[in-house]
């Protein structure tokens, strides 16, 4: 049995979801295996902790709704969901400590003859995992990767404008009503942000929501010249890409759009970060925030950075994390709902045709401060 299956068994046991026969068998196993016993005891502690958090969270949510409904002086939207009227039976936590304790006592002197299985640190150990958690820290990204923010030249002379374009990156539109995705590090610290490409001279956007941890920013067009787009071609896919799958991107490492292609070279990003892919597309400064697409033209990631030591090793944040932040926007009643495309437009087209349809919706993101 695999370790994850054992864990499932153990959780079933703790939650009282095991049949009596299985439970007896499991307890027999606990008696034989001290390591498993200790693991179970510890796991019970954690489950208890989760329960506590869960119960409090539920109570808090219900109370907020009640408060809003009865004691808030702000105008209350009628559509606000009221507390559920159904009485929910809380999941009963049937763990019996005395039982485990008594088994523990009886086992104390028994030498376990070869552990049935060992819960050991999985591939890599602490060193690696600590590093992984640091990966999300933006400063760390900065140090480990070339931050792909293009240092644009001072444009003031050329355009006669007083503002100085200080840096830029790429971005792409995800809904007809003006939502654009880019990397957080592209817009970080900027005062005003504009997007442009060969179709749109300069559209002012505002930074609507950011997720610094995952290096994602959501922008929305906020420009009097803009109503809405038609025919956004992008569909967000959370399907896990396969190793070796062909992928491509469009971005603005220079003032003109640039195409890059390669393949998924690893399912995990920098130092095994499972939130991103490693890709074999040559990435240059300015590519950050651009879309990563599969052969069919589905968006499967956001270009985020590259490794400094090696050429042609880029990283892209997986789409699932983008969907998390989008769902936050969808839940926020003060914001216009992004209307995501569901039906694929680019599927089945030859690459040049795909690119033609895409170009209008991939932007050069320019940040001024």
């Amino acid at each position: 049995m695999k370790n994850e299956d054992k864990l499932e068994q153990l959780e079933k046991y703790l939650m009282g979801e095991m049949s009596p026969e299985d439970a007896v068998a499991f307890e027999k196993m606990l008696e034989r295996d001290e390591e498993l016993l200790i693991f179970t005891e510890n796991h019970a502690k954690m489950i208890e902790s989760f329960m506590l958090v869960k119960e409090r969270q539920k109570l808090k949510n219900s109370m907020e709704k009640i408060h809003l409904h009865n004691f808030s002086f702000e105008k209350v939207d009628d559509k606000i969901e009221v507390v559920e009227t159904k009485t929910q039976e809380p999941k009963v936590f049937k763990i019996s400590y005395w039982k485990i304790a008594s088994i523990a006592a009886s086992v104390a002197l028994i030498i376990s003859l070869g552990a049935v299985f060992t819960f050991q640190a999985i591939n890599g150990g602490i060193k690696n995992s600590a590093f992984k958690s640091l990966r999300r820290d933006l400063d760390k990204i900065k140090r480990s990767h070339n931050i792909l923010v293009q240092n644009l030249e001072v444009e003031s002379e050329k355009k006669g404008s007083a503002t100085i374009s200080s840096f830029g990156g790429s971005g792409f539109a995800i809904s007809n009503n003006g939502y654009i995705v880019t990397s957080y590090h592209v817009v970080k610290g900027g005062d005003s942000v504009f997007v442009e490409n060969s179709f749109y001279q300069k559209l002012r956007v505002k930074v609507l929501m950011v997720d610094p941890k995952n290096d994602i920013a959501i922008l929305k067009v906020d420009d009097s010249n803009f109503n809405s787009w038609e025919n956004i071609p992008f569909v967000l896919k959370t399907r896990k890409a396969d190793l070796g799958e062909n992928v491509f991107t469009l971005g603005f490492p220079k003032d003109e759009v640039v195409y890059g292609e390669g393949s998924i070279s690893s399912n995990n990003g920098y130092n095994g970060d499972s939130a991103s892919y490693q890709i074999s597309i040559p990435i240059n400064p300015g590519n950050s925030g651009g879309p990563l697409l599969d052969d069919k033209g589905n968006i499967i990631g956001i270009i985020s950075g590259k490794e400094t030591e090696t050429d042609a090793t880029g990283f892209a944040i997986k789409t699932s994390l983008l969907l998390d932040i989008i769902s936050k926007i969808e839940k926020d009643s003060t914001l216009e709902k992004p209307l995501l495309k569901k039906s694929p437009v680019l599927n089945g087209l030859k690459r040049p045709q795909q690119l033609k349809k895409m170009q209008e919706f991939v932007f050069n993101v320019k940040v001024y401060n």
Binding site: N42, Q57, R136, K213, T238, T319, L321, D324
Partner: protein, 190 residues
Amino acid sequence: MYKEQKLIVESDKELVDGIKSGNSIVLEEIYKKFFPIIKNLVCKNSGNQDEAKDIFQETMIIVYEKIKSNPEPLQCSLKTFYYSIAKRLWLKKLNGKGFKSISISDSEDVIEVVEELKDAFEKDEEIKKMNFALGFLGEPCKSLIEDFYINEMSLNEITEKFGYSNSDTAKTQKYKCLMRLRRFYFSETK
């Protein structure tokens, strides 16, 4: 629809039973009944509406956890229980804000609630510890663990949300994330 569901609950016993079973109508009933009392307590003693809300909700949590975990009936009225806990919490808050030697003139009976506050403090610490460990995890592990163990999402839902190819992958990921969480959770000495 919302309005008609009003339930007039008369006695404490029904309220206490409602708390135990997690009845949401009773929760609302209690909220409406006791919040004004606590608001009065806080606002009459150098506090404002928002602070009253925080104190009341904190009190709610303590009362709920106490009643749910304790099979014995309360030794006082629910109202006294709420008031006594809220008063202690508010005094503590005022102390923390630098108010010296405060006295609150009571409009209600008061009982000793040392035990309840101690329990609540321990639970706060436990939650802090768990959040601390979760904070170390990083994404997507943190979300995955929270979704499974706290938000009650099934492995299938997680598979879909995180874009895993099947629920076995989700199960493996969950296992890996949990093993990491354990290291952070148990490495910290109490």
